[in-house]
Symmetry: C2
Subunit: 262 residues, 2 copies
DNA sequence: CGGAGCGTTGAGCAACGTCAAAAGACGTGG
DNA sequence: CCACGTCTTTTGACGTTGCTCAACGCTCCG
């Protein structure tokens, strides 16, 4: 399944000359949602980055209840938050959020210190780590920068709300169509290259955990989506045949993602 | 249905003498989750409060897309966030979050400026309004206070994640049991007086919007809960007969609420 | 007394889960 | 090259959950 992950976009932007030049983070890593941050904040973050780490597919970054003193920015790959509940006998698990490149995966941990859920990589992934102490310093010096980081976590929360809506109100077909539409939108901002082909390296069991369905039913829904001519989900990517139809099946309205033209 | 709303707890605490003495907010209003804030921050908030407003039952506080420059702290009553979607033909709507006294209802609007969802009162409600400009000043002066406000919104996000889990993984009975357990926990912290009797002034149609069920099925689930001996939901309140059983039906684990003993 | 709003109940049905079997994809070792 | 095991997807049969529709009761209020 592996499937190639999309490369970084060729930004051809001038590499900012700054004191952060020795940072492990390059200008190529500034893509997706972090691009919405002020350039100065980005430079501060570059300087604050303590380490860039490679994660194996399915490797856990943190477990519920651990004390965290670093937060991670996803550079490449896909990561997920897992809420688990219930007795050891039949542990139920749901994926409650997906991160795409350019998302802070666990910035929530900065004010919370401990998280209530697990975080893991769905694919091979690259993350940049930021010690909370360094982020604290950034926020102490500028409430404006603090506000921007807060805002990122609030967009996450808005996505959470949409996921509640999705799993409580949408039927299986609409639900999966909605999820694909969301990933389409978010991966485009993260620098997905081809418009008709979406890198979506998820197993059907992952889709099941995301949409709250059984894996068997996910398979059936994927067939329906294929036969309806909306999109084909296969081999770790989604081919979007008819975006308008896909959006219509999902009643998709992207405003909850707070797209940059705010 | 109206149903009496629980009174404010008799805190018998010394009323802090401060420059915020002329505030519309009294020490009695400091209950629920805001109690977790530093006393100094509370005094600053008292001074920052521009107005205390009374809301009618079902009155909307704000609609999706509006530009907001105040945020509200819920003092009495229950409020909800509604995510609505879809064509005018059949507008689907879900309640994606409930606020209890002591919760900031829309602090999310401070970094976001616009919200993607509607906010309204489920019951008669009292809210304290804080102009964003005043909150900005508080945050500029102390990154520590800014952090605490941020933290409140992150607890909201944690609750969001649990609601995703609930609606995507729990069956109807467990789902309602889980919701009642959550409200039990949160209303206790908000100063609910009686341990066996929970003020829950919601219609079954509200419960349906919360749990993602049809009103008819909510009725059946309530009967099941009653007959199982766990709790009786009636006339705007829930009588908890067997809390342990209720929690067991829901597999309830309150850690996602980040209870104060952190 | 009549109506509106809310809750309850039953019957029938659609959506989805569970179980089981099989097929395709892929790597591994002989 | 083939045989084999594992992982993933697909399909069918069948059971269950929860929705829809419709009717009825209850309470409050005019």
């Amino acid at each position: 399944m592996k499937g190639e992950w999309f490369g970084r976009p060729g930004l051809s932007s001038v590499t900012a000359v700054s004191k952060a030049d020795e940072s492990a983070l390059t200008e190529q890593d500034r893509r997706g949602v972090v691009r919405r941050l002020d350039p100065e904040l980005w430079q501060l973050l570059r300087a604050a980055c303590s380490e860039v780490r490679q994660l194996d597919s399915r490797e856990m970054l943190s477990k519920a209840g651990e004390k965290l003193d670093v937060s991670a920015l996803l550079l490449d790959g896909l990561m997920a938050r897992y809420v688990r509940n219930g007795q050891k006998s039949e542990p139920q698990s749901a994926i409650v959020s997906i991160s795409v490149p350019g998302d802070f995966v666990d910035l929530h941990a900065l004010p919370l210190k401990r998280l209530d859920h697990d975080i893991g990589a769905l694919t091979e992934a690259r993350v940049a780590l930021f010690p909370h102490a360094a982020l604290d310093r950034i926020m102490e010096r500028s409430s404006h920068h603090a506000r921007q980081l807060w805002r990122l976590t609030m967009i996450d929360a808005a996505i959470h709300r949409h996921w509640i809506f999705r799993s409580s109100r949408l039927r299986a077909l609409a639900s999966v169509a909605d999820f694909v539409s969301e990933m389409d939108q978010r991966l485009q901002e993260a620098g997905e290259i081809r418009v008709d082909r979406l890198s979506l390296p998820l197993l059907q069991t992952d889709l099941a955990e995301i949409a709250g369905l059984s894996p068997v039913h996910v398979s059936r829904v994927c067939r329906e989506l294929r036969e309806s001519g909306a999109c084909t989900i296969r081999d770790g990517h989604a081919e979007i045949h008819d975006r308008a139809l896909l959006h219509q099946l999902a009643h998709f309205d992207p405003s909850y993602l707070y797209p940059p033209e705010d």
